[in-house]
Each structure stands twice: as structure tokens, then as C-alpha cells.
């Protein structure tokens, strides 16, 4: 009996994920209303619940993909994977205003460059503080603080050690998760309530998943603006990391 049930759930992974995520959302909105009287928004709580489940999944299954590594919840991997994520994000652009997008043009470019530079410098400084003195390791860890894609791409280009690569990816993961959780909390303080600031925010923070979830938990109307800017960040980071940023780091820490 139980086995048949398990098989059915595994065979219908995507359908299971609809039900599971629906349950998580319902519980989150229920708790948001009951416990925080809506002060902590249901969507923010739902994203946080997702992260907690990812932790639980990681502990139980011992893999890299959180809950999605449990066979029964493999559908979560499809529902929350890159393909459907990008598809849905593009859909949010429906109804966004061209005029608002265009108006923020050059400040977004400034945001992209200063965002990559700020994250890189912070990550690199921490690497130095922890005793790393070789340019390759410092650059790789700094690049990881940009996003968890820029880190390993840069590390692979520079032939960094696998230990440093792992640290670099972990730094990027910390960033993505922190942006998801912290955005709704700091939104008011940084003036994140209009399309212009949302684009600057997307360009500065850059981590796609972080920005996507952070804005969803803040104000869904702002999602397309932030994501539009953030979509250039990882590419820029992959471009700058092994080139300009590495050369600059090597000037300070010659081999």
C-alpha cells in the first residue's frame, strides 16, 4: 500500500510540487495573518519556509539541491528550476512600462558596476582577513561574493583550488539567501517602493534568485524592474572577475 503511494508520488513529481508549494503558501499566509498581523508578509514567510525546507532536505538527503534531492519532492526541482523560474519572471514583465524601464538606463549601468565592485571588494577583503595572500584565491572568493555563479566561473578560469572554489560558492549562497530574507526588512529604509529604485536595487544586488525572491516578498509589482537589471549582473561579473578584477588584485598581491 505505502509503496504504491510512494511510487505514485514519485511518478507525479510536478503535481506533488504544486500541492506541496500550495500548502507551504497557505500556511505562510495563515501564520503571517495570525502571528504577525500581516507585518511580516506572507510571501516573505513563504520564501523563508522554502529555505528552511531546503535546509531540512539538505540534512536528510545529503545533496546540494535541498528538498529537491528527496525523490518524493523531485518535482520541486522542476517547478523551482531555472527553466520555469525564467519563464515566470519573463511573464511578470507583462504590463511593465517601457517608459519606466528606459528612464532608469544609465543609473542602472552605474548600479551594475558599483554592485559588482562593492561585493567583490568586501569578499576579497574578508579573504585577506582570513589569511589568504595569493591573488588567485582572493579573486575567486571575492568573485563568489558577487554571485555563486561568478565565483566558480572565475575560479575555473584562474585555476583556483577546489577548497577555495567551495568557499567561493558558499559565499555566493550566503549572499543569495541573505538578499531573499533581508530585502523585505530593509525595503523601506532604502526607499525600495518604486520602479526606478527597484531597477537600481536589481542592478546593485544582482544575484538573480535573491533579487527575484526579495522583490516578490516586498512588492510583486516591482519584480520585473529589479530582475531586468539583475539579469546583466552575473554576466558582467563573469566578464570582470577573471580579467580586470584579477589583474587589480594581482597588483596589490603580486605572486
Amino acid at each position: 500500500m505505502i509503496e504504491i503511494l510512494q511510487q505514485a508520488l514519485i511518478k507525479n513529481g510536478l503535481v506533488v510540487s504544486f500541492a506541496a508549494v500550495g500548502g507551504v503558501m497557505w500556511l505562510s499566509y495563515f501564520l503571517s495573518g495570525k502571528l504577525t498581523r500581516g507585518r511580516l508578509h506572507g510571501s516573505a514567510l513563504a520564501v523563508f519556509a522554502g529555505l528552511v525546507l531546503a535546509y531540512v532536505g539538505g540534512v536528510v538527503a545529503g545533496g546540494k539541491n535541498g528538498l529537491a534531492d528527496l525523490p518524493m519532492f523531485a518535482g520541486i526541482g522542476l517547478l523551482g528550476g531555472n527553466m520555469l523560474r525564467d519563464f515566470c519572471i519573463v511573464a511578470t514583465a507583462y504590463g511593465a512600462s517601457f517608459a519606466d524601464l528606459r528612464r532608469s538606463g544609465w543609473p542602472v549601468v552605474v548600479a551594475l558596476f558599483s554592485g559588482v565592485a562593492a561585493s567583490f571588494v568586501c569578499g576579497a577583503a574578508v579573504a585577506v582577513a582570513f589569511g589568504y595572500r595569493d591573488a588567485v584565491s582572493i579573486t575567486t572568493i571575492g568573485a563568489g561574493a558577487v554571485t555563486y555563479i561568478v565565483g566558480p566561473v572565475t575560479g575555473a578560469a584562474l585555476d583556483a583550488s577546489s577548497e577555495v572554489m567551495a568557499l567561493s560558492i558558499a559565499a555566493g549562497l550566503v549572499k543569495a539567501i541573505l538578499v531573499m530574507i533581508a530585502t523585505p526588512l530593509v525595503a523601506k529604509r532604502i526607499g525600495l517602493d518604486n520602479p526606478h529604485t527597484a531597477m537600481i536595487y536589481g542592478g546593485t544586488m544582482g544575484t538573480n534568485s535573491g533579487v527575484a525572491a526579495g522583490l516578490a516578498a516586498t512588492d510583486p509589482k516591482l519584480v520585473p524592474y529589479g530582475v531586468m537589471a539583475a539579469t546583466f549582473y552575473t554576466g558582467l561579473g563573469c566578464f570582470l572577475g577573471p580579467s580586470v578584477l584579477f589583474l587589480a588584485t594581482r597588483l596589490i598581491f603580486p605572486a
Binding site: 525564467d86 519573463v90 538606463g105 558599483s114 554592485g115 567551495a166 558558499a170 526607499g191 527575484a212 566578464f239
Partner: protein, 135 residues
């Protein structure tokens, strides 16, 4: 029909993502550069055009609206498959490298936003400007 909206969304997404991959290959990085952004522009452009021509009825639009509304659940599913354990196992170095960068970036947002803040806008003028054909 609802599938027309979904199909338009799909075509826009694919065009954007392919363009982003090409752009990445062109400048020699192993990443998609702006793919989702281009896809969004294609979608906005296409729906605006079709709507003006009266060829994008509510039934087609609901095919896009559904996926737009599925966005939050998809993000929750995305959160549920993050390598949270890996982030925690990275220890204090990874934690500090990630957090300091985020704090610095948050601090930058209001500074940069002030730079290009649009003037309070006369909406109608903008709507008209927006009607110029775009390349």
C-alpha cells in the same frame, strides 16, 4: 485562446535566452548575459503591439497572467532547493564574505537611486513618447 498567450510568452523567453547566450559567447563569458531582460523587452514590445492592433484579447492575456501569478510559488520552490546546508557549512569566511557584500550593496542602493531619480512625471506625455516604434 489561452495557449496563444502562453506561446507568445514562450517565444519571447526563448528569443531572449538565446540572445543572452549569444551575447555571452560573443564577449567570451560562460554565462547568459541579459537573457531574461531581453525576453522581458520582447514580451512587453509584442504585447503592446498586439494589443494596439486588437489582436491580444483577454483570453490570450490570461495565458501570460497565469504564469506571472505562478511566479511566487516558483520562487518558493526555488528557495526550497537552495544549498542552504552548503552555505552554512562554508563557515565564518563564506558567511562574512557574503554578508559584508550584501550590506555594502544595500547601502549603495539609495545613493545611486538619488542620481537618476526621475522628475515627478506628467504621465500622458510619457505614454505618447512610448508610442514611437522601437527597433
Amino acid at each position: 485562446m489561452i495557449i496563444y498567450g502562453v506561446a507568445l510568452l514562450a517565444v519571447s523567453s526563448l528569443l531572449g535566452l538565446v540572445l543572452g547566450d549569444w551575447l555571452g559567447a560573443l564577449i567570451g563569458v560562460k554565462a547568459n548575459v541579459g537573457g531574461v531582460g531581453f525576453a522581458m523587452l520582447f514580451l512587453i514590445f509584442a504585447t503592446e503591439r498586439l494589443q494596439r492592433a486588437g489582436k491580444f484579447p483577454a483570453s490570450s492575456a490570461s495565458g501570460v497572467a497565469f504564469w506571472s501569478a505562478m511566479y511566487l510559488p516558483v520562487v518558493v520552490a526555488m528557495a526550497a532547493q537552495q544549498n542552504v546546508l552548503g552555505a552554512i557549512k562554508g563557515g565564518p569566511l563564506a558567511f562574512l564574505a557574503g554578508t559584508t557584500g550584501v550590506v555594502a550593496s544595500f547601502a549603495l542602493v539609495p545613493l545611486i537611486a538619488r542620481m537618476g531619480r526621475p522628475p515627478p512625471r506628467p504621465d500622458d506625455v510619457d505614454a505618447k513618447k512610448n508610442e514611437e516604434p522601437r527597433p
